[in-house]
Symmetry: none
Subunit: 414 residues, 2 copies
Amino acid sequence: MKTEIITIGDEMLIGQIADTNARFMASELSVNGFDVQRITSVGDTAEDIEQCLGEANQRSDFVFITGGLGPTADDITRNAITKYFNCQWKENQAMLDRIREFLAERGYDLTRLNREQAKTPLESRIFINQLGTAPGIWMTKRDTHFVFMPGVPFEMRKLMKESIVPELKRTFIKKSYQHKNIITQGLPEAYLAEKLKHWQEKLPDKLALAYLPSPGIIKLRLSGKSEDPKALEGLLTEKIDELREIIPDYLVHVGDETLEELIGEMLLSRGQTLATAESCTGGNIASRIVSVSGSSRYFTGSVVAYSNEVKKQMLRVNTQTLQQYGAVSKEVVEEMVSGIMELYQTDYAVAVSGIAGPSGGTKEKPVGLTWIAAANHEKTVAHKYLFGSNRAVNIEKTTITALNMVRKMILQAD
Amino acid sequence: MKTEIITIGDEMLIGQIADTNARFMASELSVNGFDVQRITSVGDTAEDIEQCLGEANQRSDFVFITGGLGPTADDITRNAITKYFNCQWKENQAMLDRIREFLAERGYDLTRLNREQAKTPLESRIFINQLGTAPGIWMTKRDTHFVFMPGVPFEMRKLMKESIVPELKRTFIKKSYQHKNIITQGLPEAYLAEKLKHWQEKLPDKLALAYLPSPGIIKLRLSGKSEDPKALEGLLTEKIDELREIIPDYLVHVGDETLEELIGEMLLSRGQTLATAESCTGGNIASRIVSVSGSSRYFTGSVVAYSNEVKKQMLRVNTQTLQQYGAVSKEVVEEMVSGIMELYQTDYAVAVSGIAGPSGGTKEKPVGLTWIAAANHEKTVAHKYLFGSNRAVNIEKTTITALNMVRKMILQAD
């Protein structure tokens, strides 16, 4: 079932918004086994839309289109439909009643523009939009199905989930599509690929592997399609078990949770608490932890000790340690981590100090040098990292690495 | 200059990520006068990519492509380039040196895969990627320019901003395209649009206004095109002066600086310092301030007081104040802000406490309720806000609003 998506609107072509509608539709469709091969965004121009429809017809069995169905002057998808399908529009009594009712509930009268929206193409199936006045319109041409939906995200989402997808399932969906996300941390992409080369080459044809890198994390996506969902599930599990043996130190997790969510779940279930002491990350680790709802149950807080004064005064780092080893050193992060654990009375703590750059580096301590310490009441571990020259990337990598150190420490404590 | 964008990667076709690269590129290109007419996302399949390149050639003068240039097996843009341009690849010594140096800085050796990345097409111009190993590759075919860039967002952004756009400006941009970004804070989009309606209607045809909303901030982009750069500059300045009179309380700044950069400049030039005390934002304000290079000269640090214990112990918030008014109250943020200013010995401080949600709200104190206090040695101001129901958006709005309160207070102290 070759599928494509067309999103219509000038706002995407000038970069005003990202195309989140396409993302939602692509996700809904591929999870249901549609093979989305292309996403096209095009402006509010009838000719361009018409051309896109024609091209899609030649390539695909299904085309899902959003945008340009509203009542205002720049919504010209209707004109494009008329031209491309050479169709006539007729006032649809059910639609008219629906629109009148919708407006009445909100205290508005029917306008001339709304009345236009009650017209639908003669040769089409109409899907009522519960949240707005523009309906879903399903038409076919030369064996290709075209499904037009409004561009307002929450209207499209409800229509898609509650009307379009159920209809597709009834009529077209036979195979099962599944994917698993595998989060890895600590190995750059080329090294990871080198380690997985042999395993990847032996993957059966029906499985596909993708690398999704972001600073500090590489997500692997293993996906497959089959008429036998159980066998597919088993195959994915088997391959992921192999992966666990190949990269035991780097595989964080199979699933969609983030590191901060994983840490939260682990601490909650153990009834334990965490605090952070941050220099170069400036509170980024703490804010990542707090991004998880309910984090107040295990996260006490942080001391962002950006100056040495604060390191000494709040975290009880010795003046002599700072003088002898410098702020970016094993000795200082170890004192920071015990300082914060003492101060905030937590079960776990993590402390970071680094040279985020772009300035502040020396030959001995270059930009990117970072020390991270994690601790609980039994032990303290500290590691040195050499990240790159970009400030934002260094902060991000330090944050991810620190979170993963905490995760490993909690796991090892079991 | 007809332009299109092609983004490559299966992850978009299964809806795993939204196409934020396309948004960034579309914004950069249109601001520089390129007429982006289409955005296409296609999967990691050499034939599909090749077909897209061919179609784009027929429609456009410029094609910007991201993705699929990495070192792993699923990065097959290189194969598509070979087929479509019928070109040969040769090891490029400069690229090889660059990649080796890049890896060495991070303590890695060159792998076979990295060595492959040092090969570049014979008939191409190469743009070094400062943040990764995949370069920018610029080729032409039948008068159409094709610019290939890596798909990792921060790598592409830096390459685009610092290498590709400057080169485009030197060579192709004849007319003067100018734009001004106007940062506003504190008015929702519909209200801002209402206030600016009359002004906007009277804008001359050669100027265009775009609203670029993000949580807490609405950026306005006023852009124009002219053969007379001086007159255009004058016109933009005149219109922005009018704007300053219409929304004096909401217009933060004309330019590209962020709030945290503006605050940094002001504090540096005054030789003053700042600290934050954060509850619901969990360090997000501090990490925003620290994202600015050189912030150690004016930012001392933060106490992230997520628990009431930390509020009492570290920030000297009275137990009675907490009991009587609750953690999210005027009284508590005022004590927090004086507590942190005392503790970290700074000239300015800001403190926040709110119910970020989605849980934790009551009838009297609903999710989204937030108190923010800013202070210097002369005075303390505190304001109440009612943001929405989304946790991430509430944290972001609190952060932006707190930073703007500090900015206003520094300005008023002059």
